[in-house]
């Protein structure tokens, strides 16, 4: 047979043949043993350690994405919306729809993204400000989320995109709620503004989620309050974000797998909307206040209800438009606002610190009266107050107010000499004590992020006659915020009851129909004597209603009586240059005041001349509609 031919070296010896076969089977046995070891180890890996590896697999491919709840709206006391949300659409590239061949890589993705952006720019006829760094950053930090290339797309872009949708399978529209402020600039400083949050840094939701937790979380469209109520009440307004879990591939791009849905659904967590806030602000008065401070100089106005401390209006000029920030502000715009020397971001009404000038005379008078110095005390005003050694402090009326000036007239005429003398007689210790009781030199506890303290110099630093004289007319180191001055006016109007100003009066958590009111803080009664109250109130009424009153310009009606005080503080800028802060504070109506207001104007001519007309405008507006006849 052909099988047997051509066998040059067949078996030599049969015994060695058997010996060889034994060795063959020994080899085979070793091999099978080795494979059995593999099987055992495989069982260890796949059955014994399965959970461990399944967890590791989940850790590396599962990511949590948080979607914020609807941000709470903010309403004024009458239910007028001050801050809400409006829908906007972003044009975004869904990275998971970009087809890739081979191992997913960032370079191929980046190239394709550039291509899409280029095509879209031509199609939509707009310019999209997406830089290389933006794309790189997104791929590094937020790769599972869609890459937004155009925020808040306008109608035209929206329509053009809809027409050409089929040409861009990778591009999608995503809804992105944008904060909206109907009052615009008018209530900018009270409400503040919002920006894109980056909560990736902090992980607040540590304990609210079960599931994979090793890898970073991602947040969609997170809005974060940056100033005002939006910042101070951010946590309340924000609500709780809802989380869902997605699969990502090795490059961090989202991938939806068909048989994965049930597992991922298990981890879903619906967002809880934020709490609505009700403010003490009255939108109508807020607009009036904004009008009153509008002009060329920096100015601020505060109107509050002295009975509760509810701030009815708080305006600061120059203002910014919070709507500009809401949809994402451009870098250039942001730089303009921040580097503006007029500081439009600053809330002058609550955080601006100004020398109170003659407004402080009310504090001096109150301190003196409470110390038992009778209101009939008279001093002579020759036009200057001698500080000794040839130094003088001039009265604003250089010819002097003459002899026999009593306290009410001193307030009416705002005589510097009278109050220097009174301050000297009363002593700075009592003045400072009274000032502190009235809320000066400290934070009064406003429920907002920015609040100035003002400044009251320590007793030991006011020892010389000149210091006391300066302090008595609200100059020198004394500073106060317009809010503090409004509180002061209110305290006089209510007869020594100091309120604690507040802005938020009610909260409406999600699911509730009605606001849950926050009761106002009780007033602090200073226990003023009847003499103190009548002297101060009548003095302040004469400021406005007497023929020689320094604030007569603010009188707007013969029916509504108000009490007020003007002030002009000098502020040295060095080089003999001086600027003046023009002040006016009022309470109205005279008998049972419902409003207390303060206005400050930077770089003014004088308190009565500059702040007076603005106060008139403001108060006339407030009473103009309904309150005049009451």
């Amino acid at each position: 047979m052909f099988l047997q031919r051509d066998t040059p070296w067949s078996m030599k010896r049969s015994d060695t043949y058997e010996f060889s076969v034994m060795r063959i089977y020994a080899l085979l046995a070793c091999m099978i043993l080795a494979v059995c070891c593999l099987v055992v180890y495989l069982a260890y890996l796949q059955i014994w350690c399965r959970t461990k590896y399944a967890d590791q697999e989940g850790d590396q491919s599962l990511r949590r994405v948080w979607t914020p709840g609807r941000r709470g709206s903010i309403y004024d006391k009458n239910g007028v919306c001050l801050a809400g949300n409006r829908a906007s659409y972003c044009i975004a590239i869904a990275l998971d729809r970009i087809k890739q061949t081979g191992q997913p890589g960032k370079r191929a993705l980046t190239n394709r993204i550039h291509q899409i952006i280029g095509d879209l720019q031509v199609t939509l006829n707009t310019n999209m400000a997406v830089s290389n760094a933006d794309i790189e950053n997104h791929l590094r930090r937020r790769s599972p989320l869609p890459l937004v290339i155009m925020r808040d797309a306008d109608e035209t872009s929206h329509a053009l995109f809809a027409e050409n949708k089929t040409r861009f399978p990778e591009v999608e529209l995503i809804e992105d709620p944008v904060r909206y402020y109907p009052e615009g600039k008018a209530a900018a400083h009270v409400l503040g503004y919002v920006g894109r949050g980056s909560p990736e840094k902090e992980s607040i939701q540590e304990n609210t989620f079960e599931g994979p937790r090793e890898k970073p979380d991602y947040y969609m469209n997170e809005i974060e309050g940056r100033q005002g109520i939006e910042k101070a009440w951010d946590k309340v307004l924000k609500g709780d974000p809802g989380g869902h879990v997605i699969r990502v591939d090795v490059a961090g791009i989202r991938r939806d797998l068909t048989n994965d849905t049930a597992l991922l659904e298990k981890y879903r967590d619906e967002p809880i909307p934020g709490t609505d806030l009700k403010l003490s602000i009255d939108a109508r008065i807020q607009r009036l206040a904004a009008q009153a401070v509008d002009g060329t100089n920096g100015a601020a106005a505060v109107v509050l209800d002295p009975r509760t401390g509810d701030i009815l209006a708080m305006a600061s000029f120059p203002a910014f438009d919070p709507n500009k920030f809401a949809a994402g502000i451009s870098r250039a715009d942001w730089k303009d606002i921040v580097s503006d020397p007029d500081k439009p971001i600053l809330n002058r009404a609550a955080a601006g610190s100004y020398a109170p000038g003659s407004l402080f005379k009310i504090v001096v008078a109150a301190a003196a009266l409470e110390k038992g110095i009778p209101p009939s005390t008279t001093f002579n005003c020759p036009g200057y107050f001698s500080l000794g050694g040839g130094w003088t402090l001039k009265c604003w009326k250089t010819t002097g107010h003459g002899n026999g000036l009593d306290m009410e007239t001193g307030i009416e005429q705002s005589c510097n000499v009278y109050f220097c003398s009174l301050g000297q007689k009363c002593g700075y210790y009592s003045i400072r004590e009274m000032a502190t009781k009235l809320g000066l030199g400290r934070k009064v506890g406003l429920d907002m992020d920015v609040e100035g303290e003002g400044r009251l110099p320590a007793v030991r630093s006011v020892r010389r006659l000149g210091d006391i004289a300066n302090a008595s007319v609200g100059q020198g180191a004394i500073e106060a915020t317009p809010l503090q001055m409004a509180v002061l006016a209110g305290a006089v109007g209510t007869g020594g009851h100091v309120c604690r100003p507040r802005l938020v009066t009610g909260q409406r958590p999600p699911g509730e129909e009605e606001f849950i009111e926050i009761p106002p803080q009780p007033l602090a009664d200073l226990g003023w004597s009847e003499t103190t109250i009548t002297t101060l109130k009548r003095g302040m009424r004469r400021v406005i209603h007497a023929d020689a009153g320094t604030g007569r310009i603010a009188k707007f009606s013969n029916d509504v009586f108000m009490g007020g005080k003007t002030g002009t503080a000098e502020f040295s800028l060095g080089n003999n240059k001086k600027k003046k802060w023009g002040w006016m504070m009022v309470f109205a109506p005279y008998d049972n005041p419902r409003y207390a207001a303060a206005i400050v104007v930077e770089d003014a001519i004088g308190g009565g001349k500059t702040a007076g007309p603005r106060m008139k405008l403001l108060m006339a507006g407030i009473f103009g509609e309904k309150d005049v006849t009451q």
Partner: protein, 393 residues
Amino acid sequence: MINLDRDIAILKRMNWLAVIAIFGLASIGLLFIYSASKIVDDQPVARCYRQFMWLGVSTAFAAYIVITDYRKIARDAWWIFGITVVLLILVLMIGTTMGGAKRWLNFFGMTIQPSEFAKIATIAMLAKYLSRPDIDFDRWRPVGVAFLIAGIPIALIGMQPAVGTALVFVPTTFAMMYVARVANKILLTIVITGLAFVILAMAAIFVPGELGCSEETQTKMLKCVGLKPYHKKRILSFFQPGKDPMGADWNKRQSEIAIGSGGLYGKGYRNGRANILCYLPKTVAPTDFIFSVVSEEEGFLGSVATLFLFVLLLATGMWTAATAADTLGRLLCVGVTTMMFVHVFVNAAMTMGLLPVAGLPLPLMSSGGSFLISIMAGLGIIQSVHVRRRYVR
């Protein structure tokens, strides 16, 4: 001369159990190469199609070898061996460099890997030499010659560098010498020397680092035992996992996760997340890490079934060796079977994280033409021996 009737008669005498195992494994390979090349929304059939084509070519080649008498092949072993050695030298001179190693030859638009053909050529050469009747296996001389024959490809492949591939020759040569009745004392001496060298190499890798020697001294020490810094890196990454998770360690770690998370039943065909989401890199998943894909998607049961087919193939190969008509056939079968076993064992152990990443493909299943042709040629030789076997009654 083509004699179709005779050829068919020869083919009918093949070991059909082995044939079933071979095509079973090749089919599993094709299926999972498809799964491993797949990326979501993408249909990469090219690699799968190419592998199918290679399977056809190599099957035809294997059939030709079955029909051809293995003794004729052994007669031409010098030629075959000579040509592969020339090819290996050519690789070192004009080879294509990929990932820091010259392993491929560009041959009319096809990339071939001569080191794979060298495996079969060397086995044939060794079998031819060790089956000479005039050799006295109680002496050292023939053993030295055998090591010289194996040493040429080992050195040339090691220089590419592809140490993993080169090391396959060592157990294969050893097994062939064992079956060729080399005396026990000689074999034992070889084993002890080999172990001593391994210990020396390990010492060169670990000790200088522990002693705080400079980087330069460490490299010098490695050179003394013939290793390169990247070997050290690989071996270190094997012993200290987690130290370098994105680099040398990544594939190993991902393969372990893929296998471990597969569980008893697996995640289902084309549902392996480590595979589909490319954590197991697409560059290695269809080639060296195909076993991880099978394990992840078909679980413990699927992996064991695959290993069982390999055991079946090994057993039939060894059975053929035992029933071979002569020493030459026996040694050819033992050589090819051992070579295949080393690949299966090292590859599977590597994917499970038991051995360092060695770059050995899984026979019949891993994507790649050169190795498929080489292994099918080897299996063809076994069947060529089988159809001409001694009758055992």
